[in-house]
């Protein structure tokens, strides 16, 4: 069989095979290199003091506790707002909407939103939340900007899981005399938990990595604040702090420490997303 393949074809096959192997190996090598390089350069710079203090001009010490807290506040505030909105939109699309035109307009809008670059979100967030709604540069303005960015994600994952709730459950509940709202509350919503959780994990990953949208909405401050107080004031997230330390202050040690922390968190989130995905898949197939 092999002998019947002409020389020309055989070399084509071999070239393609080599190109594919090289590309796949290059992709993996890149990932491996990035992870190892960032961790190797960053972990030695992580110290207890760095993690538990704020920056102080007096002792010329840099601490990233405020940035860690700001990131946590941003994540909490964004998720609290975006989950009801995203789930609500998904419920509307799968349970209520009868007009196909409205459905396609909403889905087109969601696709458009996920294609808009974060710098534009940042700009509009600044104009609308910070200036028009007079929130100034604050974490809450940043959160609201992130809400718009993450809305399509939550909406899509919830929609996917709502589609897997069997129609017969709904019909059964209707048959027992339940109203639409009651059906949604007791049958539909419990069925979309997995979609919401998946969406949350994806959103947390995106919020962690976001920087351009936060630059002008949440600002650069490194003050140590409580949750409520923090939401009202400006604050840098880990990514923004990384940018400022690396680009504007030349503090590469701190920048790499933050990069290593972000890398570890990204690894954890990816692992979590894979585990959750597998868990729900298994549970559903039973």
């Amino acid at each position: 069989m092999k002998n019947q393949i002409s020389m020309k074809r055989r070399s084509y096959i071999n070239i393609m095979r080599i190109l594919m192997a090289v590309s796949a190996a290059l992709t993996c090598a890149l990932v491996l290199f990035l992870v190892i390089y960032v961790l190797a350069k960053g972990i030695p710079n992580i110290s207890w003091k760095l993690l538990t203090t704020g920056p102080s001009y007096l002792s010329e010490q840099i601490g990233i506790l405020p940035d860690i807290l700001n990131t946590v506040y941003l994540i909490i505030a964004t998720l609290i707002i975006v989950i009801p909105l995203g789930v609500g939109a998904a419920v509307y699309l799968t349970e209520y909407a009868k007009n196909q035109r409205i459905v396609s307009v909403i889905e087109y809008a969601a696709e458009t939103l996920s294609g808009i670059p974060s710098i534009i979100y940042g700009l509009v967030g600044m104009l609308f939340f910070c200036q028009f709604l007079n929130m100034q540069t604050s974490l809450i303005a940043g959160s609201l900007t992130l809400v718009i960015m993450n809305l399509p994600t939550i909406m899509r994952t919830t929609q996917e899981s709502l589609k897997t709730v069997p129609q017969s459950y709904r019909e059964g509940a209707f048959g027992l005399g339940a109203g639409k709202w009651r059906v949604i509350r007791t049958v539909v919503l419990p069925g979309c938990i997995d979609g919401v959780i998946t969406g949350c994990i994806l959103s947390v990953g995106r919020i962690l990595g976001e920087s351009a949208a936060l630059l002008f909405t949440a600002g650069f401050a490194h003050a140590l604040n409580g949750f409520i107080e923090g939401l009202g004031s400006a604050g840098a997230s880990l990514t923004v702090a990384l940018y400022v330390y690396a680009k504007e202050q030349g503090e590469f040690g701190v920048a790499f420490a933050i990069a290593a922390i972000l890398m570890i968190l990204t690894l954890i989130i990816n692992l979590l997303a894979a585990l959750v995905g597998r868990y729900f898949k298994k549970r559903r197939s039973i």
Partner: protein
Amino acid sequence: MKNKKQILETAIHGIFLVLGLITVGSVLLITIYLVIAGIPAIREIGLFKFLFNDTWKSTAQPPSFGILPFILTSIYGTAGAIILGVPIGFLTSVYLAKLAPPKMRSVVSSAVSLLAGIPSVVYGLVGMLILVPGIRKLFHIPDGSSLLAAIIVLAIMILPSIINVSITALEAVPKEYEDASLALGATPIETYFRVSFPAAKSGIAAAVVLGVGRAIGEAMAVMMVSGNAPNMPSLFQSVRFLTTAVASEMSYASGLQREALFSIALVLFLFIMLINAALNFFLKRSKEG
């Protein structure tokens, strides 16, 4: 009683309708705000002068607001990233979709999704400390912050989108096509490149367009490696993209300069809208087969 229940149901229907329309509202909000904020400076400077003048001196007296360097840099940078990233991404996706043993596939796929999850500032940081000095030494130029550095960073950053969308497209190719090709005596690799690839053309075009969108919209990583001088694009020179033009001056700009930044954002937004439309076109066509 019945009436009360009906009112409640209608109210809840209304609430869900409002929630559903929030995405539409957000898109409108973004569009309207960008148009309102972007038009005044274009009016004042003149559309033609704004788009096709090649000097940007926003703080000089008198200032000059020509964004041609930014537009061209964004286009060249994106094209470069596509030229580098698409072949690597496409070949990797063929390997993953068709050839890789399941275990290998799951390892490489998780590596790819990790690549997608790494924050852009981390790419920027690594680029600043490895690529920029590397380019400086390799090509003997005074500063390595250049279009080339940005292109390499962007090529890596768009890999995951290209790989994932291409895999989906390749997997959607009907098995019969490949079986027919194999039965006619083509080898598996010939089949993948000469039958599966043309059949998945629309989906792969969508992958490329998605990559274009990612590359043209990226700001932070590019800002950290490209040097930010408003030069006309050249591979080994410091350049400024549309995104970084907005980001780098926004914090201190005022007056006409600030308005001009909004106009740049509006131009960027129009690019993105065009790309989105192209993406939808290809996705729809690939769904129809």
